[in-house]
């Protein structure tokens, strides 16, 4: 069954995150770390204490479009990304530990927030046959105060708008 285009965009984001993360680690992403597409956040506030590893969840936000020309449409896809990681022993994390996660989020934003049709780093290729998408907008919540203070969990919410012509 063919996928919805917004799902194709999310899957392309997941693949991009996994590749960038593997480059940062020097090895493929492995459990308990993961980057997956989800419709609902798998972990509620009451389950935060059970969270292990670094999680990157990618979810469809919304989409729209407009006429690019008489024969084409310009799609606009919004993708939500959550980066979550609980401090391993559940105690209050040191600043340096949180700083490292802020850097990780910035690395993801530098990638996902800068796709261009031809300029470096190039387009986000979506679907088959691949369609070029570029980043129109990015928005980052650096961290969530409540999650860090109450649950000792780094929690960052990001949003990206990608556009493509078809």
């Amino acid at each position: 069954m063919p996928q919805a285009r917004i799902i194709e965009v999310c899957d392309a984001v997941v693949a991009a995150v996994l590749a960038e993360w593997a480059a940062l680690r020097g090895s493929p992403v492995a459990a308990p770390d993961e980057c997956v597409r989800e419709y609902v956040v798998p972990v509620g506030p009451e389950e935060i204490g059970l969270l292990t590893g670094r999680k990157v969840w990618v979810a469809p936000g919304g989409y729209g479009g407009e006429n690019a020309s008489r024969g084409e449409d310009q799609d606009q896809h919004t993708v939500a990304v959550i980066v979550a990681e609980r401090y391993p022993d559940g105690s209050k994390p040191p600043r340096e530990w949180t700083d490292e996660r802020v850097v990780f989020v910035e690395r993801l934003t530098d990638l996902l927030g800068n796709y261009k049709p031809t300029r470096d780093p190039g387009p986000l290729l979506v679907g088959n046959p691949p369609r070029r998408h570029w980043t129109e907008r990015s928005q980052v919540g650096v961290y969530d105060w409540a999650y860090l203070d109450e649950h000792h969990c780094f929690w960052s919410e990001l949003e990206f708008e990608f556009r493509g012509v078809r």
Partner: protein
Amino acid sequence: MAGESFAKTGIDGVVLRNTGTYGSPTLVEITLVRDVNFGLPWDFGDASSRATPIKLYEAVQGDLAISVVVRADDVDAGFQALFDAAMQKGAKLDLLVLDGPVTEEGAAGVRAHFKPSLTGQAQAIGDVQYCTFDLKAGYHTDGVPKIVDVGAESALTYTSF
């Protein structure tokens, strides 16, 4: 004009490029066209006389004023034809500019050998690139500009101005 009554929208207009001969055209739509502005203002000569104190005019020459906005593309044949013709001083294109598709009885427009003139290519950092071409009717041994009417079953009728 024949055909049914409905609101015409800009997106339904077509710009067709002839890739065949003038007498046996092969019409291919330039699909990357976004906006078209069409006009035919006439120059008037004074035809007044003492028969009336009201000024009288007679149309003497019409100036087809057509501009098209087209998404820039490295491989689209229609855009490349317009762009290449705009870059070459003597190049013209056999184009039909209609206010509806060739399948719509009642659509109308003009056909001529147009000289495209690139009047702008917006390259703003936040935008998709579009080119604006002014189309000027030019001289060609094949024929002069014609009025085009779309009849039943996509039959095209050409009429002199």
